[in-house]
């Protein structure tokens, strides 16, 4: 390699390093703005904007879903395993909505309850056929029985 080419190659390397450093600093500074949603813990700590619209994300607590008999009103609890926020929603829920599912919802806190305008289901990174999922559930239940039965 000629010295001139070597020099140009070093400049390319420096360019990549410089831009990476700048990007890392910018993204760290903007951390809170890039996150899509607040967790129930952040809401409990008062980090979420009060009185304004924001997104809340968490897992639907098992057995917390209460549907109205007459209209589309539904209420459920969201948790990040530390804190719990109760959510109220009037509308059609996505197909993937179920207990134990990750959810991202848009709305605001009113009288201690999160009133949702939109509910989105989060999908996890696991893909399997139904029979495999059933087998897994059965195996888990068995394990649970044997561990609690004694």
């Amino acid at each position: 390699m000629t010295p001139k080419r070597k020099q140009r190659l070093m400049l390319v390397g420096l360019l990549v390093l410089g831009v990476s450093a700048a990007a890392a600093l910018t993204l760290t500074a903007l951390q809170d703005n890039i996150n899509l949603f607040f967790s129930p813990t952040e809401v409990a700590q008062g980090e979420a904007p009060s009185g304004a619209t924001f997104r809340l994300g968490g897992m639907v607590v098992d057995g917390s879903v209460k549907r109205s008999q007459t209209d589309l009103n539904v209420s459920f609890d969201l948790t990040d395993t530390a804190e719990v926020v109760t959510v109220q929603y009037a509308g059609i829920l996505p197909d993937l909505f179920r207990e134990g599912q990750g959810i991202v919802t848009t709305g605001s806190i009113e009288n201690g309850v999160f009133v949702a305008r939109e509910v989105l289901a989060k999908h996890d990174e696991n893909y399997m056929p139904p029979e495999v999922s059933d087998a897994l559930k059965k195996a888990n239940a068995k394990q649970y029985q044997t561990s609690t039965g004694q």
Binding site: R5, V12, L15, L93, P94, A121, P129
Partner: protein, 262 residues
């Protein structure tokens, strides 16, 4: 009277000459043109066969997902598109950097040939993702880190093409666009790790995990076949574009004249 002609001694030592020979070959438009003409159809046929197998496996053989049912089948076009959008950007940036450092014309034309295909893969990843998002998440679009950074990748490809074509002088075009391509490389790790660094609606990685893929093997095999098909398609499509660009830009040279009239 047989006269033995001895070739002139090479400037560099023999081993160094051999080591760099392949590299210099890629600097010759005539050689690359012939290489592209020979290999593009072969890669194209391989890609076509793999596409047919992958589509059959993915749409017919693979079982439905326990949560999403059949809609997850979009994965077989979405994930390979997304992978190639990033891979093609990386190859484009490397080619542009080689063009910048070695002032190699062919490398620059290669980068310019990759750009529209990269934009296509990014577009496909965004659109198929959106069509998958509606039945799964409940929305076509959300401004989370993964979706936004992938959209930026589309703008980088388009920006590269626009900047390259804005200059009359080919060498200025090559230099300016190469710098843009190199700067944009920073976006690649951001796209990949966005689902780990920030909370997003998009789920985490399924295939490229340290603890192994979290997808059933009957779903993984069509995904891998489609992934291979997309890679061969990319190789064939780039060579096709490269071939016509070389012919166009080198139309005044002897090798093109020989090719056309010889």
């Amino acid at each position: 009277m047989n006269q033995v002609i001895t070739p002139p001694a090479p400037k560099n030592s023999a081993s160094k000459g051999r080591k760099w020979r392949w590299f210099h070959r890629f600097g010759s438009p005539a050689w690359v043109y012939r290489f592209a003409s020979n290999w593009a159809p072969r890669f194209g046929v391989v890609a076509g066969v793999l596409f047919l197998i992958g589509l059959y496996q993915g749409l017919v053989v693979a079982p439905p997902d326990y949560q999403m049912g059949d809609s997850y089948r979009i994965i077989f076009v979405h994930v390979p598109s997304a992978w190639l959008s990033m891979f093609s950007y990386f190859v484009m940036a490397v080619a542009a950097a080689i063009g910048l450092v070695w002032r190699m014309k062919v490398a620059n034309i290669t980068a310019r040939s990759i750009a529209p295909l990269g934009a296509l893969f990014t577009f496909c990843a965004l659109v198929t993702g959106s069509l998958w998002g509606k039945p799964t998440w409940g929305t076509y679009w959300v401004w989370d880190a993964r979706l936004t950074s992938e959209l930026i990748l589309l703008f980088l490809f388009i920006g590269f093409i626009a900047l390259h074509d804005a200059f009359e002088d080919r060498r200025t075009a090559a230099r300016a666009s190469a710098i843009l391509a190199i700067v944009g490389v920073v976006n690649l790790p951001i796209i990949h790790f966005s689902v780990e660094w920030w909370n997003t609606l998009h789920q985490g990685s399924t295939v490229t995990r340290l603890d192994g893929p979290t997808i059933d093997s009957r779903m993984l095999s069509p995904l891998l076949i489609m992934f291979l098909a997309f890679n061969f398609y990319f190789a064939a499509a780039v060579l096709n574009r490269l071939r016509v660009s070389l012919l166009d830009l080198e139309r005044k040279t002897n090798w093109v004249k020989e090719l056309v009239h010889g």
